[in-house]
């Protein structure tokens, strides 16, 4: 073996052009990102000029006032000044490039700033109520709108949210993932129909899902609003989302893994159970968690179905059962400042819940199907080592002792 390898190396049949370091001309690498000091000077100089100009125009030269008008004037004059400064030593192409970069950057700053501000604003105003421990441990049963924040809380709404989302998950997860498995592993004409219908249902406005449950269940059958009705409304809304995202995740499972499993003679079921689902596990968990976050946060389906109560109700089958988003909505309908503060507190709790779910989903779902964590890889390595040992022992038992030779790959694995 070793000799023939040597021979082929010495007598190559084709000559490949080889590039050595000496052939490549030296030159500075052209950067498309990053800034030179001159560019930074242009940027900050025109910013300063624009602020000065806007301040001068406002109040001194022109009869204008108001912070937003000031901002608009400052921004426009900043763009003009910046374009002029760049123009002093660059052509028009580059001026356009710089101005557009500034515009793109401002869009990003405005958007991300606004979104972060919305979250921070809610959390800050909510902290007033959240600083009272009773806010999380009491209900509003014995607290009126005029009571201070040290009385009453939203425990009933938290419990209601948890019960409703649990019922919704018990229905959605098996059915949603089962449907996604059906779409990908069984297929056929009916599967295409199922896919089209569930895609169409993602367009169903959530208030219409609530209206459906209100008319079909509450008006026609139970005659009262209940936690179960709210859970069903959430299910109708969540189901298409979970089916669609689980479908996308299962489609990402490499086809050759399935083929390898079938080639080993396994049935469809064992392929799905031992190959497809474990490979897609993290993606499926992410799909379910993101669906849960949507389901928890949506107000409109529960607005029509769950009913409003100030007391704790743990029975989903009878009586109204309020949930967090609806509780927020109910609190801020009152003009009392303490009730509004409670509304912000409940919104902050809801926001914290949703953000936690999102971060868990992000931590679990950052990986593509088949990509393993360190621990999983180590476990897989140990399993294959055990298998190898087993095979070696079996081979030893069959072969006479003096012919035994440990397989070469064993050392590689142990190393």
């Amino acid at each position: 073996m070793a000799e023939s390898a040597q021979l082929t190396l010495e007598q190559p049949r084709t000559t490949l052009p080889s590039i050595t370091d000496a052939d490549v001309p030296e030159g500075p690498r052209r950067g498309v990102r990053g800034y030179t000091p001159r560019q930074l000077f242009d940027l900050f100089g025109s910013m300063l000029g624009a602020v000065a100009l806007a301040t001068l125009l406002f109040g001194w030269f022109l009869p204008l006032d108001g912070p937003i008008g000031w901002f608009v004037v400052a921004f426009v004059s900043f763009l003009v000044l910046y374009a002029l400064m760049v123009r002093t030593d660059a052509d028009r192409q580059e001026v356009a490039d710089r101005v557009v970069t500034v515009l793109i950057g401002s869009a990003g700053v405005i958007l991300i700033g606004a979104l972060v501000f919305i979250v921070v604003y809610t959390l800050t105003r909510g902290s007033e109520a959240m600083f009272h421990w009773n806010f999380l441990t009491q209900t509003m049963q014995y607290a009126g709108p005029l009571d201070p924040l040290s009385v009453g809380g939203i425990m009933h709404a938290i419990v209601g949210t948890l019960i409703q989302i649990s019922i919704a998950l018990v229905i959605t997860v098996p059915l949603g993932i089962g449907t996604a498995v059906y779409l990908n592993e069984v297929g056929g004409r009916f599967a295409r129909f199922v896919r089209t219908v569930s895609d169409a249902m993602t367009a169903l406005p959530s208030i219409v899902a609530g209206l459906f449950v209100y008319a079909a269940l509450i008006q026609a059958v139970t005659k009262e609003r209940s936690g179960l009705a709210a859970a069903i409304a959430i299910t109708v809304m969540m189901m298409p989302i979970v089916v669609r995202s689980a479908d996308v995740v299962l489609r990402l499972v490499p086809q050759n893994l399935r083929e390898a499993s079938y080639a080993l003679g396994s049935s469809r079921w064992s392929t799905v159970w031992h190959v497809v689902l474990p490979t897609a596990r993290s993606g499926l968990v992410t799909a379910v968690i993101l669906g849960t976050a949507r389901g928890i946060g949506e107000t409109s389906p529960v607005l029509l179905t769950s009913g409003i109560t100030a007391a704790l109700n743990t029975n989903p089958l009878s009586g109204p059962m309020i949930s967090l988003p609806l509780q927020v909505f109910d609190f801020v309908r009152s003009p009392e400042p303490t009730m509004v503060a409670r509304g912000f507190g409940a919104a902050a709790v809801l926001l914290a819940l949703v953000l936690t779910l999102f971060l868990i989903a992000r931590a679990l779902g950052g990986k593509a199907p088949g990509e393993l964590s360190d621990r999983q890889r180590r476990r897989a390595l140990e399993a294959s080592k055990r298998d190898l040992d087993r095979f070696t022992i079996r081979a030893n038992r069959a072969a006479p002792l003096d012919e035994f030779e440990p397989p070469a790959s064993l050392e590689k694995v142990t190393a």
């Binding site: 979104l115 069984v186 959530s206």
Partner: protein, 338 residues
């Protein structure tokens, strides 16, 4: 393959035939197939039931109202006078204002994330934008009512006085004189549109960003090699390749804006008339109408609300299907050989 020769020496067709693959699924497989089929069947049954139920109940009201359901502005089912003319107008107005706010922001941010920033910062910002897509709409509604409303009214006043020659921006009192009082500017379609716009921006941004990062690297480097600036490269490579993503993302955002309930319901003061002056108090939307009127509705009133819901559903369905077909087509066509 063995050839069988006859006496004349001619080759006959080979006698081997393709072996019939006769797969008889085992018991577990048959159970698995049945269960999977049942899961798909139940899901579809639920969804079709929702659709059928809505259509059936809505048809009662639609039969009474006839075609005027789409144009009638008043909502009084008890007097048999009802229609979605005004609320549909309000829904579309709010959605279009939302689009006018969200399109430049999401386009700019998507370009920023795909072309300008890099490394760790990009990862952080992408996560942040995705996270914002999960923020509940009631939080946006609270922010709109308790913060934005007070801050935006001076801007509304400024637009109304400076651009009153554009009919949409003018704000007039009942007698036709222009209104300047702050109370004429509260609870308008403009404020609701801004809040809904911010709500849909994250969805739009992530779809556009995905489309932009798919622009082929070969063409990008080609543009740079020909001496293009970054903007030149974006204009000639990224934007043409990402057109489908821009249109599709925008329309998916539009679909969500049309169906948004709670934030709109909290901000607007409902009216049943077509209000062209977007900065002026008063607007309406189909979902806000349902939230407002379901409680007091009779059986027939409920059927009328279902008809309104059905119209909204059909509208978002058309928007969503157009969007997803545009996104899908752009994906398959945008790959290059590079």
């Amino acid at each position: 393959m063995t050839l069988v020769l006859d006496e004349a020496g001619l080759a006959l067709a080979a006698p081997d035939k393709a072996r019939a693959i006769n797969v008889l699924p085992g018991l577990t497989d048959r159970i698995f197939r049945t269960v999977a089929y049942a899961a798909g069947g139940i899901t579809v049954a639920i969804m079709v039931a929702v659709g059928l139920f809505l259509s059936l109940r809505a048809s009662t009201a639609l039969r009474v109202a006839g075609f005027s359901f789409l144009t009638q502005r008043a909502w009084a089912p008890e007097h048999q006078i009802f229609g979605v003319g005004a609320v549909l107008f309000g829904t579309v107005t709010i959605a279009l204002i939302a689009l006018a706010i969200s399109l430049p922001l999401s386009l700019g941010t998507a370009l920023l994330l795909s072309e300008v920033v890099g490394g760790r910062l990009r990862g952080v910002l992408v996560t942040l934008v995705d996270l914002m897509a999960a923020v509940p709409s009631i939080v946006f509604g609270l922010w709109g009512v308790y913060f934005l409303q007070a801050e935006i009214i001076p801007v509304s006043q400024w637009i109304a006085t400076s651009f009153s020659w554009i009919p949409v921006f003018a704000v007039t009192n009942a007698d036709g004189s222009s209104a300047t009082d702050a109370s004429a500017f509260t609870s308008s379609a403009f404020i609701a549109g801004i809040v809904v716009g911010l709500m849909v921006v994250p969805t739009q941004t992530s779809i556009m960003r995905e489309a932009f990062t798919r622009a082929p690297i070969g063409e990008r480097e080609g543009a740079y090699a020909l001496g293009a600036t970054r903007w030149g490269m974006i204009r000639t490579v990224v934007l043409p390749f990402g057109t489908g993503g821009i249109i599709g993302g925008t329309m998916l955002g539009l679909g969500r804006a049309l169906g948004e309930t709670i934030a709109v319901y909290m901000i607007i003061s409902p009216i049943f008339d077509i209000n062209w002056q977007v900065l002026k108090t008063g607007s309406n939307s189909v979902s806000a109408l349902i939230a407002l009127r379901y409680g007091e509705a009779s059986d027939f009133g409920l059927s009328a609300l279902m008809a309104a819901g059905l119209v909204l559903f059909v509208l978002t369905l058309i928007v969503n299907f157009t969007a997803s077909s545009i996104v899908a087509r752009s994906r398959s066509g945008a790959e290059s050989d590079g």
